[in-house]
Symmetry: C2
Subunit: 301 residues, 2 copies
DNA sequence: CCTCTATCCCAAATTCCGCTTATGATTCCG
DNA sequence: CGGAATCATAAGCGGAATTTGGGATAGAGG
């Protein structure tokens, strides 16, 4: 197998017209060129140049190799340019898997920033809920996963994954306007022990039950649904109250309901997850940075 | 510029599926692969592989580089195969410049042998007389020149040329059948001082005059022509006698003339000339060998 | 559940390759 | 016939790449 440096030097010699000139072009000394060409001729098995006096001429093998050298160097620089495009963030694809309310808030904002500064980066968007979306990450089906955890349930993430905290998403108690508790500025969980509840997704429900248990009651859950829009509609109809993350409320809010903060506050942690190795991939790191920046502006939501 | 060895190793890793497997394929130890891939990733600027457990996966950059690696290695091996064709004598072009009587005798025989054993070697045939054909060689217009010299005139060949003696071509005295001298088996030059002569090409004529002078007479040259056929016709018509190399007579002999050997013999030296560097070019060396072999069978002509 | 094997990384040492420096020979040009 | 430029060669050295040795981890199988 030819050494690409030899090919490059050979090509320089051919175009420059002499060993010395090629040495000047490539930043070598002249003997280096001599040695490289000697080695190349040795590996080819036949001379590539002949000299008549001081003039240099290509042999038949030299002519043939010269033509090949052109294409070899072209494909090499093509590869190099594509690699450069990927590292210089002028190209690349990042697959992001997020839970619905992140897909509706953080993601679009991050993508807007991304499109402005790095139009070459393409993002594929997948939707998935935390326990499963993490598995997808490990399986290599996506590069970044946005997921949330509740402080109560201490979940373990696989070792090869790294967690990047993005924001804390505060929970709000939703109730129909005119509800007696709506007169307070903030409510305590213990005050809600007698209410009827609309419960959300599995993880939210689990955490909710956990927190209620800590305060000392078991909530009366009347309805359960994954759909936040349905939850709000049920609340609006007076069928119960509900806990809902601020992230959801920031883009979807039924006009017949109102929300009150909890005291003490309850929150879920929104984080990005990446395979440890992928942190070093420029495009992935870039999208992560945008997500961090977007999340930072939402602190306290 | 990527190192072609790195590309080759990278490709082996991709196809073999693991560093260790690639090491076995390439005959390296495994750490060598690790270091090469580390160096490659450093020069690319982004990881090429990620590992999930023991499984290896290509990153986006790795996928892209893998595609390029394929074509790079293909063009490299294509170049290598063409070089191999040239060195293994399965391809090649040799330009031979010869004087007419060699073109009619030695060359066709050599080409016949060549075509049998090495059908891939193409030969371009040029015709040229000695003083000029040597210049063509130096100028790079041909690779091998067949030329003849007479022992008398000590011509200098350029330093970068190498002379390969092929055969000695004995001169014969041509006379019409029935000529008085035709009764002898051999004739001495001095016996021919009173004859009328038909002279051939410049070099032949020069040598002829030289030899006559040494014996002590100036020949009476009635006609001069480069064309050996014309010489023979003139001799046949009884217009004079002539000296002619055996090489010419071996393929062209007027049936109304006869030839007698000279005593002492007069001969011209037929040699091949090559640029010194070109001796190392396989195809050129091959044609030279064939010419030597053909000439060896003609010793004494 | 444990062991065994295969894989990979890391660090150190050695070998080897390639570049440079220095020098001499040759050619071309004024 | 110098002088400039080119190439070849040899010696020396620095760095790179490989090997060696050791350890950690993951997956397979008993």
């Amino acid at each position: 197998m030819f050494d690409s440096r030899h090919i490059k030097t050979f090509h320089a010699v051919v175009t420059a017209g002499s060993y010395s000139a090629a040495a000047r072009v490539l930043g070598y000394t002249q003997p280096a060129i001599t040695q490289q060409m000697k080695a190349l001729e040795r590996s080819v098995g036949t001379p590539l140049f002949t000299r008549v006096g001081r003039r240099m001429r290509l042999t038949e093998a030299g002519e043939a190799l010269s033509r090949h050298a052109e294409t070899i160097l072209d494909t090499l620089t093509a590869a190099q340019q594509q690699m450069s495009s990927l590292t210089r963030l002028r190209a690349g694809r990042v697959r992001v898997c997020a839970f619905p309310s992140a897909s509706a808030t953080l993601i679009p904002e991050a993508l807007a920033r991304l499109a402005a500064d790095h139009p070459g980066i393409r993002v594929e968007l997948l939707e998935g809920e935390p326990p499963d979306s993490i598995r997808r990450l490990v399986r290599g089906e996506c590069d970044i996963t946005l997921a949330f955890t509740y402080p109560g349930l201490h979940e373990q993430v696989p070792e090869e994954l790294v967690e990047i905290p993005l924001m804390e998403d505060q929970l709000t108690v939703l109730m129909p306007i005119g509800h007696p508790l709506a007169r307070r500025r903030a409510v305590q969980l213990a005050d809600l022990s007698e209410e009827r509840w609309i419960a959300g997704c599995l993880r939210c429900r689990t955490n909710f039950l956990h927190e209620c248990a800590e305060v000392g009651f078991a909530p009366d859950i009347a309805f359960t649904t994954d759909d936040n829009l349905v939850v709000q509609s049920l609340v609006a109809e007076g069928l119960g109250i509900a806990m809902m993350p601020g992230l959801v409320l920031s883009f979807m809010r039924h006009d017949r309901i109102t929300g009150r903060a909890l005291d003490p506050a309850s929150r879920r942690q929104v984080s990005a997850y990446v395979l440890r190795d992928h942190l070093r991939i420029p495009a992935t790191a870039l999208v992560l940075d945008e997500l961090k920046a977007v999340a930072a502006r939402r602190v306290g939501c």
